[in-house]
Symmetry: C2
DNA sequence: GTACGAGCTAGAGCCGACTCTAGGTCAAGT
DNA sequence: ACTTGACCTAGAGTCGGCTCTAGCTCGTAC
């Protein structure tokens, strides 16, 4: 299945068809999406793989603007690998910071849970 | 310092004065905030501690609506500890899910970083 | 006495990331 | 022939969580 409709891609990526069109408008497709004679989008396997990478970046909190920058670099072709690396490293830091913060929050949440469990006795 | 102005509380909690008033409007103060003769808010130590708990919950992604529910339970007094516990456990799950997801995303990000580092050679 | 800074309210505005609507095209099935 | 359903565009609407504005009142310092 190397060419798919927007509906199929929506199903495969978990994004809505609305979101797919929106992402394209926002310039976060590494390559322009092909069209059939009727003007309908025809996605390639590569397009879908790229979208999956984007969903992972989004799921880890990378802002659209950063994804667009990264996309721009990729679309521009070879020669800017250092810049791509810099963006990825920046995001890695965002993610690890976020995880550290969540760990600290979890301590409090678990502490409070333990307090209520105690107060309620062995059951609950 | 057991009574503070909104400005002092903003400084201590890291929330803006706007956010503090907003939170109050949204009903996420466990106890009503006192006022001085001129109608200005006077925060107690307890108020600040509550706000700090709220910031931790927010920082870990608990939605305002859930915080409000929790606040409502606390404000309503003893007897609903099971419900409070349920809300906290629900949030604990949100947080651990989120951390799992971040861990998976981080794998991809680090993989991509490694690929670029390789491609760029030992330097970078 | 007046200028300043901090506080007040109600309500508007903003930002990110979608999501939905209106109004239309097109291909396939009955 | 015609209905259905998936697709199209441009643009409006939504939602969460603040953030800011306008227009006001205080209390203190000069």
């Amino acid at each position: 299945m190397s060419s798919m409709t927007i509906g199929e891609v929506a199903e495969r990526t978990g994004l809505s068809v609305h979101a797919l069109r929106f992402y394209e408008r926002e310039g976060i497709m590494a390559n322009p999406v092909a069209r059939d004679t009727g003007g309908r989008r025809v996605y390639s396997e590569d397009d879908v793989e790229w979208l999956i990478v984007c969903t992972v970046l989004r799921a880890s909190g990378m802002p659209m603007t950063a994804i667009r920058q990264y996309t721009d670099l990729v679309r521009h072709g070879e020669g800017n690998e250092k810049e791509r690396l810099a963006l990825l490293r920046e995001h890695e830091e965002r993610v690890t910071d976020q995880m550290d913060q969540l760990t600290r929050c979890l301590d409090l949440i678990r502490y409070k849970i333990a307090v209520y469990e105690d107060a309620l006795g062995a059951d609950s």
